[in-house]
Symmetry: C2
Subunit: 340 residues, 2 copies
C-alpha cells in the first residue's frame, strides 16, 4: 500500500496525493476530499523512510539516561518527555547504565538515526564526543552537574552552593564532625558538591578530614557500604551528608544495622528530594532539586535550538533554584532554633 495505489485509485498523479498530505491548500477542494476519503479507507500512512529521505527531519530526539532505575534521572526524563510529547516528538531511550562505552555506542546510534536533537542527562561523555556532535550539527542540551568549560548548553542547579547549604544546615543543627559520602559518576562532575562541603567547613574553621570523605557508587548499595565504613571509624562522624537521596537511603539502612538512632546518634542529609525521601523513617532532610522542571527546561531549550529560535552559537547555562527541605533526619527544629 503506497502512494501510487492511492493515486491510481483516485485517478490522479502521485504528486497530487502528496500535496493532499503536505500542502492541502494547493489542491482543489473536491479533488482533495476524494483523495482524503480514499486515504482514509485504505488506512494509508506515508512511508516513514521515504518521508525522512526528503525532509531529513525525524521527529525524534535522543534521551540519554545514566541509569533507568534511578528515579532522579527518570523524573528529569519525564520532564523531557512531557515537552517532547506535546511537540509530537518521540524520544529514543538510551540507558547508558553509567558506562561510558555504552553511552558512546548509544550516541553513535543516535547520530546514525539522525535524531533532531539530543538531551543528555548527567552525561559521562567527554569533549571528543561533544566535538563530534557539533560537527554533525546536532543540537545537544546537557542536564545536570557537569565539568566546567565544556562549551555546552546546560540546565542544572548550583550544586556547589546547594551542598554548602546542606552542610551548613548540619552545622547549624549542632553537628561538628560531618562526613560526606559522594556518589561518583565517571567523568560527570569534578566534585562541585565536594567543593561546597569543603567550603562550608572552611567558613566555620573546621578541619577537612580525609577519612570523612568517601567516594562510592551512586546507589543505595554504595551508601550502605560507605556508611558502614564511617560508622566503624575510631571517631565516627556525628552527621553524614549524602550526595544523593539514594545514597542516603543506603546510609540509613547501614546505620540502623549498626543500631544507631537517626538523628539522635547520627544525622543524615540527602540530596534530590525524590518521592521516597518523604517515606523512609525518619523522613529525610534533603536538598529539593526541581527535577521535573530541569527536564522541562532542558527540552524547551533543545527545541528552541532545533527550531532555530536559539542560534546556539554561544553556550547557554540555565541554573534553576533549589531549596533545603527540612524533615526529621538531621535533628529537631528546636535544636536548630537554639543555634541562631
Amino acid at each position: 500500500m503506497n502512494i501510487r495505489h492511492i493515486a491510481k485509485e483516485a485517478g490522479v498523479s502521485v504528486a497530487t496525493v502528496s500535496r493532499v498530505l503536505n500542502h492541502p491548500e494547493h489542491v482543489a477542494p473536491k479533488t482533495r476530499e476524494k483523495i482524503e476519503k480514499i486515504i482514509e479507507e485504505a488506512e494509508y500512512t506515508p512511508n516513514w523512510f521515504a518521508r525522512g529521505l526528503n525532509f531529513n527531519k525525524t521527529g525524534t530526539i535522543g534521551l540519554m539516561i545514566p541509569h533507568i532505575l534511578n528515579s532522579v534521572h527518570m523524573e528529569i526524563a519525564k520532564g523531557v518527555e512531557d515537552v517532547a510529547h506535546r511537540k509530537e516528538y518521540i524520544a529514543l531511550m538510551c540507558n547508558a547504565e553509567r558506562d561510558a562505552a555504552k553511552e558512546r555506542r548509544y550516541l553513535e546510534q543516535l547520530i546514525k538515526r539522525r535524531v533532531d536533537g539530543i538531551v543528555l542527562i548527567c552525561s559521562s561523555l567527554g569533549e571528543k564526543d561533544f566535538k563530534m556532535l557539533e560537527e554533525q550539527n546536532i543540537p545537544v542540551v546537557l542536564i545536570g552537574d557537569h565539568k566546567d568549560g565544556l562549551g555546552l548548553h546546560v540546565v542544572s542547579i548550583d550544586c556547589r552552593q546547594a551542598a554548602e547549604k546542606a552542610v551548613s544546615h548540619l552545622l547549624e543543627a549542632g553537628h561538628e564532625r560531618i562526613a560526606m559520602i559522594y556518589g561518583f559518576e565517571p567523568e560527570v562532575e569534578n566534585g562541585h558538591k565536594v567543593e561546597g562541603y569543603k567550603t562550608a567547613l572552611e567558613k566555620r574553621n573546621l578541619p577537612f578530614r580525609e577519612e570523612y570523605l568517601r567516594t562510592v557508587e551512586n546507589s543505595i548499595e554504595g551508601g550502605y557500604l560507605g556508611a558502614k565504613k564511617l560508622a566503624e571509624l575510631e571517631e565516627p562522624p556525628q552527621a553524614i551528608f549524602a550526595s544523593s537521596d539514594y545514597i542516603a537511603f543506603g546510609v540509613m539502612d547501614a546505620l540502623k544495622d549498626k543500631n544507631l538512632k537517626i538523628p539522635e546518634d547520627i544525622a543524615v542529609m540527602g540530596f534530590d528530594n525524590v518521592r521516597m525521601s518523604n517515606l523512609v523513617e525518619p523522613k529525610l532532610t534533603t536538598i529539593e532539586v526541581p527535577l521535573h522542571k530541569l527536564g522541562v527546561y532542558g527540552a524547551r531549550l533543545l527545541f528552541d535550538l532545533i527550531e532555530g529560535e536559539e542560534d546556539g552559537k554561544e553556550a547557554k547555562t540555565i541554573l534553576l533554584q533549589h531549596k533545603i527541605k527540612i524533615r526529621k533526619s538531621c535533628g529537631h527544629k528546636e535544636r536548630i532554633g537554639e543555634m541562631f
Copy 2:
C-alpha cells in the same frame, strides 16, 4: 556526504561502495581496503532513511510504559532494554501515563515509524488496537497482568495465585479482618488479584466485606487515601493487602499518621518487591515478582517473533514464578510459626 561522494573519491561505482558496506566478501580485497579507508576518513555513515527504504527494518522496537516514574514498570523496561541493546536495537520510549488516549496516540506513532516490534507493559489498550496491530503485521508482546482471552503473546505471573498466597500469609499470621487496597489501572486487569483475595477468604469461610475492598489509583497517594478510609472504619481491618508496593508505602504512611503501629496494630502486605520495600520501616513483606526477568523474557519472545523463530500464529503465554518475601510488616515469624 553521501555514497556518491565516496564512490567518486574511490573511482568506483556506488554499487561497489554499497557492497563494501553490506557484502564486503564480494569485493576484491584491495578495492575494499581502499574504499574502507575513504569511508573511515570521511566519517561517512549511510543514510538511515535510505537504508530503511530498502530493508524496511528499523532496528527499533516500541516500548510502551504505563508510568515512567513507577519503578515496577521501569524494572521490566530495563529487562527489555538489556535484551534489545544486546541485539543492537533501540527502544522508542512511550510514556503512556496511565492514559488510554495517550497510549493510543503513541501506538499510532510507533506504527508510522514502522518499528519492528512492540513491547507493551501493563497496557490499557483494547481489542480494537490489538486487531489493528495484527493487520499491520507488527509483532507484539504484552508483559504483565491483562484481560483474559486477548489472543496475545503474554509474559506475566499468576497474579490470582500470588494474591491468594499473600492473603493466606496474612491469615496464617493470625489476622482475620483483612482489607485489600486495589490499584486499578484502566482496562488492564479484570481483577485477578481481587479474585485471589476473595478465594483466600472463601477457603477459610471468611466473609467478603464490601467495605474492606477499596479501589484507588495505583500510587503512593492512592494507598495513602485508601488506608485512611479503612482506618476510619467503625471496625477497621487488622491487615491491609496492597496490590502494589507503592500503594503499600502510601498505606504505611497513612497508618503512621494515624499513630498505628505496624505490624502490632495493623499488618501491611505489598506486591512486587521493589527495591525500596526493603528500606521502609518496618521492612515490607511482599510478593517477589521477577520484574527484570519479565522484561527479559518478553523481549526474547518479541525478538523470536521478529526473527521468525516463533511463527506467532497461536498466542503464547509465559508465566514466571513468584515467591512470597517475608519481612517485618505482617507480624513476627514466631507468631506465624504458631499457626502451623
